[in-house]
Symmetry: D2
Subunit: 360 residues, 4 copies
């Protein structure tokens, strides 16, 4: 099913080169004033063509809201339906490839699953789908902001360049006002990696780090709907995602139990906190009131502009040479997508305590 969430549920549709993308946001609380400017800014961050680092496909992504909102921009509590028309569809670019299984793409598996597929631009498997998530996530971000919750995301690795120090800071200095700053010189190395790949017709992977500040303790369920398990499921839905980790993450075995014990203490404001944050703000699947942070690692864009050997749907060997626009590092455009999904998951956990039915 093409749905995410239990209390706040996003259901989406759309093929990359079909008439439109779109979705239904169900469970959004009533009486909330939407800031459409902020919404458009979030969408624009994700948009291709916004810098040399990303594909030059030009999309004007203006969502049209069809329900759930008054003419004055106030939510009704009823489902919010929206669509985004697909434009600038160079479908002909793909005509030669209708029968070819591109390596590391979902062409072969979609054929195996469905018996047919929309080959134009990847159809349903295209990252174009993530525009739906960013629309919904932007609404969630606004709602969370009114509760004092702030979500940030940033690129922390590109190709073989990695800014490991950020995680160290998040763990060791959780009480400083850390935000997700990556020094400009590091950002420059990321850009160089990406531009080199682009020049070579190649692509590189990357990593996005996300930080959620302002969440209270007590969110999450103990067994199969742990806060981080829901995050993991959402993040692993992003195209090209290969790894999810939270807190100390994959480096956990580098530290012993004593070294990585997050010691509790009572802060001057009487709240209980931990001195370090190896836990990443979640213990036993439930938030502990500390900042939550996690990483998502992405593989290189499957599309490269060099010849690759592959097969067609008859199983015959063919040589593929992709043409046209090219996004050398999907992780760049995943930055706002990670944030959007984090907002949706967080709001899904928070809604029951703040909204819905009249309290008796």
């Amino acid at each position: 099913m093409n749905s995410l969430g239990k209390n706040l549920r996003l259901t989406t549709f759309g093929e990359s080169h079909g008439p439109a993308m779109g979705g239904i946001i169900d469970g959004f609380p009533p009486g909330f004033k939407i800031d459409f400017e902020f919404l458009q800014e979030e969408i624009d961050k994700r948009r291709p063509g916004s810098s040399a680092l990303v594909t030059q496909r030009k999309e004007e992504d203006k969502p049209e809201f069809l329900s759930g909102i008054t003419s004055g921009g106030i939510t009704l509590g009823t489902p919010i339906g929206f669509i985004i028309r697909n434009k600038d569809q160079h479908s002909r670019d793909y005509a030669d490839m209708s029968d070819i299984y591109r390596p590391n793409h979902a062409d072969y598996t979609y054929d195996a699953r469905y018996g047919l597929r929309d080959y134009r631009g990847g159809g349903r498997s295209s990252a174009r789908e993530t525009v739906n998530w960013v629309v919904a996530g932007a609404l969630a971000c606004q709602w969370l902001a009114t509760k004092g919750i702030k979500i940030e995301s940033v690129l922390t690795a590109a190709g073989q360049k990695d800014y490991n120090q950020l995680k160290e800071k998040l763990i060791q200095s959780p009480h400083s006002q850390i935000s997700l700053q990556v020094p400009q010189e590091i950002q420059k190395t990321f850009e160089e990696e990406i531009m080199r790949a682009k020049r070579e017709g190649d692509s590189v992977g990357g990593r996005v780090t996300c930080l959620i500040n302002g969440l209270p303790a007590g969110l999450g369920n103990p067994i199969f709907s742990k806060f981080h398990a829901s995050l993991a499921q959402a993040m692993m839905s992003i195209n090209a995602a290969k790894a999810f980790e939270y807190g100390v993450g994959k480096e956990a075995p580098m530290f012993s139990g004593i070294q990585s014990a997050d010691i509790f203490f009572t802060d001057t404001d009487k709240t209980i906190k931990t001195k370090t944050n190896f836990s990443g703000g979640i213990q036993g699947g439930i938030t502990n009131g500390m900042p939550i942070f996690f990483d998502v690692t992405f593989k290189p864009t499957p599309t490269v502009l060099q010849e690759l050997e592959t097969v067609n749907s008859s199983g015959n060997k063919v040589t593929l040479k992709a043409k046209g626009r090219h996004d050398p590092c999907v992780a760049v455009r995943a930055v706002p997508v990670v944030k959007a999904l984090a907002a949706l998951v967080t709001m899904d956990f928070l809604i029951p305590s703040t909204e819905a039915y009249p309290v008796i």
Copy 2:
């Protein structure tokens, strides 16, 4: 909710030191003959006290099946209810700790979430819960075996010792009859790491690698129920899990797009395969018929036998010195748990194609 799965759904209950653990397996196909010996072997692998590496708590974990199975051991298609009595409960060991928030445990967060908790042995947050999963997973493994599907799991890191070569083999030689062998000399280094931690009253993290062989192409859903997203959600439910990755995983950015392209070819048996397996058997969220493999990284056991500073529920500073049994590396006991959950997720995806309603 304490449930996992859609078509095959496991719902569980139980506190570590309550009367019993147990669960309901819903959606298991009818007419299947259960091998209770195999089942008990799987349970015994998870059991504490099975080697010096794990805690000495002695549990005789004999599940009692209460429904869904004929007296001859044939499934009825109706829900399979089972319980496992808790024994050997040294509840008094925990009495001093009823009010203390142990670092890296779920004591504080359970209190924040529920306002009270069963402090004995961690209550619902104890890894004791995983016995329920192993019972259900063992049934799933048997069923999968009849479809030619085999799941293996093995410890591939303990403390700072890591057997990276296994992933390399899984990626580069996917067509050899790889099974998850870890050389004995490597295993020995793992044991040394763990025993040293034990001697020091400390603990270490670790990693479990899992391999699913024999799955057909075409399983999984394209957007939010991608095959690997469901695996991620399940694996991140395991106590102490900090990272999930599949295929090349977190190392994805170490390779360029061209370097990590899994080239398609038609094998002598006319099936389409890939030469390498960076994808880990899943493309676009759907299986491609190649072996599926993934890693789960675990933090060190939170319980250590040295003094730790912490606070109690009043926020006052206290010093904690854990007593009693001690499991220095939870990853060891997670090996059969990872396998069990992998079996449940896989069977959940497979059921609709093989069972359920009469075909018209």
Copy 3:
């Protein structure tokens, strides 16, 4: 949540006087050729203004399909998104009523639930929503037809006129080729009841009977997802529905256990059938291969064209006099809606046996 179904799931949105209605059909099998003419006919049956019996609001309900279907009209297996623009919105007709709680409408309860509402034409509570269901139901009907399954629905009561004899025939003669014919003279009495109510500015209730032919035995789940329980939940979602009954229904106590025993026999084609059909084709929640039939009873249209006393949102007494278009018997327009929902529920139960994953 605004969703119906598990394997075939319809999620909808739309306020009566908002920009558009619409929905997402998830889980529809791939490779199915859609007959758009049939689809439009089904939609037109539901449309207001199609006869003197129903409201004169003129809607041209042309769904626009935005995804999930190739340009050749073949389903892709991916979610089918569609919208239907709202036209002919006399929103000003409702301006006087923005603050008034109309009797038997959902004005007061929506305000209690959400704190605000779109008062124009009932907003989300309008029967306009059912156009979404008819779009999805028409696709389901086509798919079911290819499996030999046929669904019919008909008006069997209007006001105090009731055609009880139909149920008797369905029970006593289940093997004749019964279709849901209501004699013309009976239909005429229905029309008279409705037209009289219309003349008097009043409204009347009614009943719709639905028949599902061609279903195999074995569909349905034994406890909480009984075939008829899912039907009941769907049917009670229709605006103004007050009662659901299947088989002998509410008259069950008029017959003793012996009188209403559906005696099994083996037919000449070797299939097991029952001589009578008090059961309505479902026993223990599971279909038995006999025709399925059920009734849904509707209350009179809440809107009447006479003065009614009521209160406004401040609780002050006001007198309401509805103006404009008027649908004196909602049951008339519910006939295609009942059929559409029956098709969706039936297809939801059937899908697992016929579609989805590749069979190993």
Copy 4:
């Protein structure tokens, strides 16, 4: 799936003549003190053998709680697992019938659905299952009582005797302190109907009316999870249920729109109420603060003690003569079952507003 509910979810298991019945109650709020005496009384009301009107099978239904509750009887917020051992199983009574399809039972349909069945006492299709619901429902009733909500149910028809006046009172006098009293002389006619059927080895149907008092306005969702649609789905899950109706119900067409308009007024306590209650306390799927009432009609017990013609699993004609215990009117034992399910549904809708997460 054998689950009911979203926020409060009951999942059950058990065959009539298997080792035990049982279930898991998930989502029950923490910190609630259970009254085990009340619980047992509710269970005993459902128990067979409690009067001459019902079957003489003697069950001592003592639930054993295995989790989710402290030794002091306080809920933990974690899943509540419970089992009830099956005793007094005259399985041999059923041995002759292992191959016979009993009319109006689920024998044939279970075989069609599953390919095999536990024939002893109906297996999973037995009304024995409802003991699980009464256990869970009794907990829900206690919790609802602390919110001022009271649920009652009563037998209002047996065989051809019907106490229609009760519904009339519920509609016309919703502000008197109505409780569900059936006059003793009417009760006597019910008993006579049942005892006559018993003497004749026959059985009769009946009807149960249920009243929910004390619910606030604003509960329920507008489209597919209408309050009454969830009630309908739950009630139609009860064995032998054939019809569900709420408010004026199936008699709705007997009244015109004007006759059945529930006129709003502001009561002396400033709350908005309706003068009559044709709506049954629900408008547009959402509660309006008035009493909620509904009816469930049951068919006669399928088991009768006279010879019936039928077929066996080979399709051969056989004559069936049931022996042993006999419950001539299932509706009698359904009275506490209707109440239990009503409590579960109501609590499911109420939980989000009162419990769960910490409010920010």
